[in-house]
C-alpha cells in the first residue's frame, strides 16, 4: 500500500503524455526527427548501449572520477570547515579568500586546471574536488558556529581537551549542516565531471555524449544523457538512504523541537 500511495500518478501520466507527444511529433516530421529522434528509438539504442562494453567503460570512468573528487573534497572540506569554524583567527585569515573564490563559477577553473595538470584524469578530479569543496566547507563552518555552547561546556566539564571536543562533540553536532553541504555537492560533482569530460575527451559519459553528437548519432547522444540522468538519480537515492540511517536522531530531535 505504502509504495502505491507514494507514486505520483498525475505526475507520472503527464510525463508519459509528454514522451508520447515527443514520439508522434518525431514520427510526423523529418526535420523534428533529426533533432529529437523518436523516444522508442532512443530506448532501443539505450538498451543496446547498456550491453555494450564501451558504454560501461565510460560509465565506470565517470563514476571513478566522481567518487575520487567527491570523497576527497568531503574529507578535506569537512576537516577544514571544522577548523575554520572553531578557530576564529583561522577563519579571519582566510575569510577574504573564501568570499572571493566561493561565488566564482567553478567551470571557470577548468582552464587553470588544464594549465596546471594537463589534460587527463587528474585535472577532472581536481576541478570536481574544487567545486565540491565550497558547499561542504561553508555549511560545515556554519554548523560549527551554530553549535549550542552548552554542548562545548559539557565537553569541558567532562575534562575533554580541544581535539577531543572537536571530534566527539563538534563534529557530530555539526553533522546535519555537513550533510546538507554533502547533498548539494553531490549534484555539483556530477556536473563538473561530465563538463570536464567534454573538454578533456577520451573517456567518460560526458565525452561519450558530446562525441555521439559530433558523429551525428543523435539517438546515442540522448541515450547517453539518459544514462547520466539515471546515474545522478541513483547516486542521490543512495545518498538519501545513508542520510536517513545516519541522521535519524536529527529528524527525531527536530520534530521534538529540541534542536
Amino acid at each position: 500500500m505504502r509504495v502505491f500511495s507514494r507514486i505520483n500518478l498525475p505526475g507520472l501520466l503527464s510525463f508519459l503524455a509528454l514522451l508520447f507527444l515527443w514520439e508522434i511529433s518525431a514520427r510526423s516530421s523529418q526535420v523534428i526527427q533529426s533533432y529529437f529522434p523518436p523516444v522508442s528509438e532512443i530506448i532501443r539504442s539505450l538498451l543496446s548501449l547498456i550491453f555494450s562494453r564501451e558504454v560501461v567503460a565510460h560509465l565506470l570512468a565517470t563514476l571513478g572520477r566522481f567518487l575520487t573528487g567527491y570523497l576527497l573534497s568531503a574529507l578535506i572540506a569537512v576537516s577544514l570547515g571544522i577548523l575554520l569554524g572553531h578557530f576564529r583567527f583561522a577563519y579571519a585569515l582566510f575569510e577574504v579568500l573564501i568570499e572571493f573564490l566561493r561565488p566564482m563559477p567553478s567551470v571557470a577553473m577548468i582552464p587553470v586546471a588544464i594549465l596546471l595538470l594537463g589534460i587527463g584524469n587528474a585535472m577532472i578530479v581536481a576541478v570536481t574536488l574544487y567545486a565540491c569543496t565550497w558547499p561542504i566547507l561553508i555549511n560545515t563552518i556554519d554548523g560549527v558556529r551554530n553549535i549550542e555552547p552548552t554542548l562545548i561546556d559539557t565537553g569541558r566539564t567532562f575534562g575533554l581537551g580541544r581535539w577531543k571536543i572537536l571530534k566527539e562533540i563538534i563534529l557530530p553536532a555539526a553533522m546535519p549542516y555537513i550533510v546538507t553541504g554533502l547533498r548539494i555537492s553531490l549534484a555539483i560533482a556530477l556536473i563538473l565531471v561530465t563538463t570536464s569530460e567534454m573538454v578533456v575527451g577520451g573517456s567518460g559519459l560526458g565525452f561519450f555524449i558530446l562525441d555521439e553528437e559530433r558523429s551525428l548519432s543523435t539517438t546515442n547522444m540522448y541515450a547517453g544523457i539518459v544514462i547520466v540522468a539515471v546515474l545522478g538519480y541513483g547516486l542521490n537515492r543512495l545518498f538519501l538512504f545513508f542520510e536517513g540511517k545516519a541522521m535519524a536522531w536529527h529528524r527525531g530531535a527536530t520534530a521534538r523541537g529540541l534542536l
Binding site: T150, L151, D153, G159, M175
Partner: protein, 255 residues
C-alpha cells in the same frame, strides 16, 4: 573535616553591550566539606549559574580564587562535573541513552573492562532501565535530567555541581528525582553542591544551606540543617524544624 571545595572572595562582573559592567557576584566565600550535601538558595537572576560556572572552571571569576582539593582552579578541575541547568541542551542528541552515559565513562579514560555493564548499572540506578536504546528526545524532561545525572555519575566525580536540576520538571517528578538524588548521594558518597531557588528543596536535600542575596549576590546566612536522615518526603517536610528553617530562609531572601 577537610574542605574539598573553597570559594574565596569570588566576584564576577559581566560587560554589557552598552559598555557598562554589571556585578553579578560580589565577593562570595564559602566552603564545602568532603561528602557533604550543600545547597545555595537564592532568587532567580542572582548569579547562581554564574557562580557554578566559575567553580566548574568554565568561566573565570573577575577576582577571587577557587580551590578544589587543594588545587587552584584555572580551567575545569578533573574531579568535578557540572550538571547544567539546561540539561536538555547538554545531552548529546546523536547518542542513545546508553551512548550518553558511556560518554561519561569514556571521558574518564579509565578503561573499564565492562563499560557497557557499568553504564547499564547507572541507568538502572537513576530509574531508566529499559530506555538504554532510546534517544534523549524520546524522553520526558524529568527522564532527560536522569540521563544527565547518570552521565555525570559515570565520570565518577568527587564533586557534583548541580544547577537547578529539577527546575523544569513537574512537581511530582521533582519529588521523585529528589529522592533518587539522595539515594545516589548516600550510596556513592559524592560531594554535592546544588543551587536552587526552591527553599524547601534545599532544606529537604542538604546538610547545609548558604542563603544568597539578590544581585550582586552575597552570602546572607549559613544554615545547618539538622534534620535526621534518611529523609522522607512526608515526615521530613512535616517536621516543625523544617517549617522553622523555611520561614527563616524566606525572611532572609525577601528582605
Amino acid at each position: 573535616m577537610v574542605a574539598i571545595l573553597e570559594v574565596k572572595k569570588v566576584s564576577k562582573s559581566y560587560r554589557q553591550l552598552d559598555g557598562e559592567s554589571t556585578l553579578a557576584i560580589d565577593e562570595i566565600s564559602f566552603r564545602v566539606e568532603k561528602g557533604e550535601f550543600v545547597s545555595l538558595v537564592g532568587p532567580s537572576g542572582c548569579g547562581k549559574t554564574t557562580l557554578l560556572m566559575c567553580i566548574a572552571g568554565l568561566n573565570p571569576p573577575s577576582t577571587g580564587g577557587l580551590v578544589v582539593k587543594d588545587v587552584e582552579v584555572h580551567g575545569p578541575p578533573s574531579n568535578l562535573v557540572l550538571v547544567f541547568q539546561e540539561f536538555n541542551k547538554s545531552l548529546f542528541a546523536w547518542r542513545s541513552i546508553l551512548g550518553n552515559v558511556l560518554f561519561g565513562l569514556e571521558a574518564r579514560e579509565k578503561r573499564s573492562q565492562d563499560a557497557q555493564g557499568e553504564a547499564r548499572r547507572l541507568i538502572k540506578l537513576v530509574g531508566l532501565e529499559g530506555f538504554e536504546r532510546h534517544y534523549p528526545w524520546e524522553l520526558s524532561g524529568g527522564m532527560q535530567q536522569r540521563v544527565a545525572i547518570a552521565r555525570a555519575l559515570a565520570y565518577g566525580p568527587e564533586i557534583l555541581l548541580m544547577d537547578e536540576p529539577f527546575g523544569s520538571v513537574d512537581a511530582l517528578t521533582r519529588l521523585e528525582l529528589e529522592d533518587t538524588l539522595l539515594k545516589i548521594w548516600e550510596d556513592l558518597g559524592t560531594t554535592i553542591l546544588l543551587v536552587t531557588h526552591d527553599i524547601e528543596e534545599a532544606i529537604y536535600l542538604s546538610d547545609r544551606i548558604y542563603v544568597v542575596s539578590r544581585r550582586p549576590s552575597r552570602i546572607l546566612q549559613t544554615i545547618d540543617v539538622d534534620l535526621s536522615r534518611p529523609r522522607h518526603q512526608i515526615t521530613t517536610r512535616a517536621d516543625a524544624k523544617f517549617m522553622e528553617l523555611r520561614n527563616e530562609i524566606y525572611r532572609q531572601i525577601s528582605q
